[in-house]
């Protein structure tokens, strides 16, 4: 734990804690109506005492919306990325470790998925399954799997050539144990880096789906939905884009910092 206490670690962890607390406690303290209550007298009002972060085109308070949207956005993004790791990790690991025919078959599958734009794929999946939070998670999770699988395969391929893997094989270690004990720990840094980057994209992917009517359903709030809604009023009410945009940016920044520190901690060489 002491090694978490670098400047980067402290800032990242503090930020992430605050964001997580907001996402968890927000819905418990505020009534769900706070995000949808319209104040027709104060549409598109800039930040003021009454509305500290301003209001949107329907006079909804952006502070409440950003707080109540945090949970939806983070829930979807974190679950979707976890899902893509759960699917992509074994796929990439097996493909990269065994190589040859196994690799060819698995990677052609992944390439087929990669050929579709991720958003289009998510769109199709969530259109088939129906629009709700759970299906949005599944859609984004599947759409992101090939990217993770590709990166993990590349790393696994590299690690599988290392002499310590050959040494393990020579001393009678089974393939499964080699993958778990030797390959996995050595590809974990890449998984962490790609995972944190994917989270930012997942938040935005959710926005895209919501915009097309397949993610979060209005009038409920999510960061992505808020960014999409601000699209045609950037010139007259830029704060409507800045508020959710900053929320996404801060979250990604915090995640990247924590991810970096986590990677360093996992590496025994950085002691």
């Amino acid at each position: 734990m002491r090694r978490f206490l670098t400047t980067k670690g402290i800032i990242g962890l503090t930020l992430l804690t605050i964001i997580a607390l907001i996402a968890i406690l927000g819905p418990l303290i505020l009534s769900p109506d706070a995000a949808t209550a319209m104040d027709m007298t104060a549409r598109r009002s800039p930040p003021s005492w009454k509305h500290p972060l301003g209001t949107d085109q329907l006079g909804r308070d952006l502070l409440f919306r950003v707080i109540l949207g945090a949970r939806t956005s983070l829930e979807i993004a974190v679950s979707a990325v976890l899902m893509s790791i759960v699917l992509g990790l074994p796929l990439g690991l097996i493909s990269g470790y065994f190589g040859g025919r196994t690799d060819n078959i698995l990677m052609r599958l992944v390439d087929t998925l990669l050929a579709f734009p991720a958003l289009l794929l998510a769109l199709t999946i969530s259109a088939v399954l129906g629009p709700n939070v759970q299906n949005t998670i599944i859609a984004i999770g599947i759409a992101f799997t090939p990217f993770l699988a590709r990166i993990i395969r590349g790393e696994a391929l590299r690690v599988a050539q290392m002499p310590y893997v050959e040494a393990a094989r020579a001393s009678g270690t089974t393939d499964v144990m080699i993958m778990v004990r030797h390959v996995l720990p050595n590809i974990l840094p890449a998984v962490i880096v790609q995972g944190t980057i994917s989270l930012a994209f997942a938040i935005l992917a959710e926005a895209g789906l919501s915009f097309l009517g397949l993610g979060t359903q209005p009038p409920a709030a999510s960061w992505g939905l808020m960014i999409q809604a601000s699209r045609d009023q950037l010139d007259i009410a830029p704060w409507t884009a800045l508020v959710p945009g900053l929320a996404v940016a801060l979250t990604v920044l915090a995640l990247n910092m924590v991810g970096d520190v986590l990677r360093d901690i996992l590496d025994p060489r950085s002691k």
Binding site: P163, E166, A167, A170, S171, G172, T173, N186, D267, R269
Partner: protein, 607 residues
């Protein structure tokens, strides 16, 4: 050297520091030496001794690695008669000196050349830049240079790319590049370390000839005492950033003053020093009383065959065309047969690409052989199922070359050593812990190391861990693939002694794969010389080394530098026959290996 001329370079109290986050690290401290024209100064030392930092400082290249020259003067006598202090010269002046008045040869001929330019382009660039020659004049000079370094068919080479040349030819091109502007000082930083012995001998002879013909001063950086003995006029011995001893080459070798120099020399195996002895002998390390005491009487064993390899053949497919079909085959191992007795060492020697490593891996089935039989303990390893093979691997373990890469950086050492034991379910709980402790004691590592990670250990310590891991399941056979090649000489000697001690105590058999003839002479009972996938000569070590019959064995032995300055044997120019390609078209059936017995157990391949 007679009548020392005005030195070309004099280094005075050089100190180089590397500022890091954890504080300042001193690269070298209080280093002083001079080099006269036509003189070769060898700087010798083990890794981390500061020898490369010294050479990089002379080019002021050390800054690019994050170092700073904080003290001392590096006086260089320029071609126009003026002197220049390299330590304080401006970057512009240094650019004019580098490559122009000081030439440099690097260790790795594969990476010192740019793969996307022709040889001509790489040679002419420097001429056009420094000498202002026209393209035509530069091309003509480039051809001259290739002739100077005696590359065969120089006209054709100009138009070729680096990958089309062999390692030895590439290093000749690198030397030609260093010679483009006729430098007064040539710095050679481990120029032959990455090369095979025969090519090393050629390159060393070439540098010697150029030095004599052009009256250059040569600063030769190496870790290899044998190369020093063959090349140096004067020697600087470095240790941990400081000069330990300076002297003429004969003084250093015959009358070393410092303990460190003596220890370094004692650790170097000298080819030929085992003449007349039949059994291997441990290195006599200064301060290692145990080794001296134990070196007396090796136990006599009744010969009993452990490993019997018959007609082993391994081929790799060469894929080509758009369908990635197999278009040809690399005959990595071709009809190799030998036996290895219990408690003995068979060394496989040869140059890179001769198939010695593939033979070792084929025996353990880390790569699948194409045909042949591998009998060990009454079983044919080749015939075993995947499951039985895993079981059989308890009998045969491997120690790899690179101790940095053969241990998993993410696992504690005790977990890595206990892994084989757990694989075969030999012990659990306290018994497992005891066994691992025993193994650490056995390879003389403190038990405190058990909870450490590989990066916390030095190269030699890691190789001991690798040996402990190999010993964990009480194997009968250990395949040691260049197991000491990556280690510093003093560490190499200790690891070799440990291996020999373990052999005597545990009755281990080693298949010792190595390119180093001097090491092999020291450790092996039997020697097999490999060339192009075949064993060309095999027999008792004394017989093969003292009475080599095959021409390849002879050229290999003649190429090995000897760590004795009175036994210099480089002719002016040596050219060994380059090794031909082991790639054959599909369906090519090579003739079987047939041998003539020239002495008891000593067989030579029929040509």
């Amino acid at each position: 050297m007679n009548a020392p001329a005005k030195p070309i370079v004099s280094v005075d109290h050089l100190r180089v520091e590397f500022p890091t986050r954890g504080g300042t690290v001193i690269g070298v401290e209080d280093v002083s030496f001079t080099i006269a024209p036509g003189e070769t100064l060898c700087v010798v030392g083990e890794s981390g001794s500061g020898k490369s930092v010294t050479s990089l400082s002379l080019m002021r290249l050390v800054e690019f690695g994050g170092g700073q020259i904080t003290e001392g003067a590096l006086t260089f006598a320029r071609a126009d008669g003026s002197t220049l202090n390299v330590a304080t010269a401006s970057p512009e002046v240094m650019q004019g000196v580098r490559g122009n008045e000081i030439g440099m040869i690097f260790q790795e001929p594969m990476t010192a050349l740019n793969p996307v330019f022709t040889i001509e382009r790489q040679l002419t660039d420097g001429l056009i830049l420094h000498k202002g020659l026209s393209q035509q004049a530069a091309s003509a000079r480039a051809l001259e240079l290739l002739k100077l370094v005696r590359i065969p068919e120089p006209e054709r080479r100009l138009k070729q790319y680096p990958h089309e040349l062999s390692g030895g030819m590439r290093q000749r091109v690198v030397i030609a590049m260093a010679m483009t502007c006729e430098p007064k000082l040539l710095i050679a930083d481990e120029p032959t370390t990455a090369l095979d012995v025969t090519i090393q001998a050629e390159i060393l002879a070439l540098i010697n000839r150029l030095k004599r013909e052009k009256g250059m001063a040569v600063l030769f950086i190496t870790h290899d005492m044998a190369v020093v003995a063959q090349m140096a006029d004067r020697v600087v011995v470095m240790y941990q950033g400081r000069i330990v001893e300076t002297g003429t080459v004969t003084d250093i070798f015959e009358n070393p003053q410092q303990d460190y120099t003596r220890a370094l020399l004692a650790a170097v195996p000298k080819l030929g020093e085992m003449k007349g002895k039949t059994a291997p002998e441990r290195m006599r390390l200064i301060g290692d009383e145990a080794a001296r005491a134990a070196a007396v009487a090796p136990k006599a064993r009744k010969p009993e065959v452990l490993l019997d390899v018959r007609h082993l053949t391994t081929r790799f497919p060469v894929k080509g065309g758009i369908l990635r079909r197999t278009v040809a085959q690399v005959h990595a191992v071709e009809d190799v047969s030998f036996t290895l007795n219990v408690g003995e060492t068979l060394a496989l020697v040869g140059e890179s690409g001769c198939g010695k490593s593939s033979t070792g891996r084929s025996i353990l089935r880390l790569i699948e052989p194409t045909s042949g039989e591998v009998w060990i303990g009454g079983r044919d390893i080749r015939a075993l199922s995947h499951h039985d093979l895993r079981r059989a691997r308890a009998d045969m373990q491997m120690v790899f070359q690179d101790p940095f890469a053969s241990l998993n950086p993410y696992r504690r050492l005790k977990d890595q050593v206990s892994e084989p034991i757990q694989n075969f379910g030999l012990a659990t709980g306290q018994a497992l812990k005891d066994r691992v402790e025993q193994l650490f004691d056995r390879v003389r590592l403190p038990r405190a190391f058990m909870t450490r990670f590989p990066h916390e250990l030095s190269g030699g310590q890691r190789q001991r861990v690798a040996i402990a891991r190999a010993l964990a399941v009480n194997p009968k056979l250990i395949v040691a693939d260049e197991a000491v090649s990556a280690l510093d000489v003093s560490v190499q000697a200790q690891v070799l002694n440990l291996m020999m001690e373990l052999q005597e105590d545990l009755g281990l058999s080693y298949l010792f794969i190595s390119h180093d003839m001097a090491v092999v002479e020291r450790v092996a009972h039997h020697v097999g010389v490999m060339y192009l996938g075949r064993i060309v000569e095999i027999g008792p070590r004394a017989s093969v080394f003292e009475n080599p019959q095959h021409p390849y064995t002879r050229s290999l032995l003649s190429a090995v530098p000897i760590a004795d300055p009175r036994k210099r044997r480089f002719a002016d120019d040596l050219t060994f026959k380059p090794i031909t390609s082991p790639i054959f078209p599909l369906g090519h059936t090579p003739a079987p290996s047939t041998y003539t017995e020239v002495a008891p157990g000593h067989r030579v391949l029929h040509p």
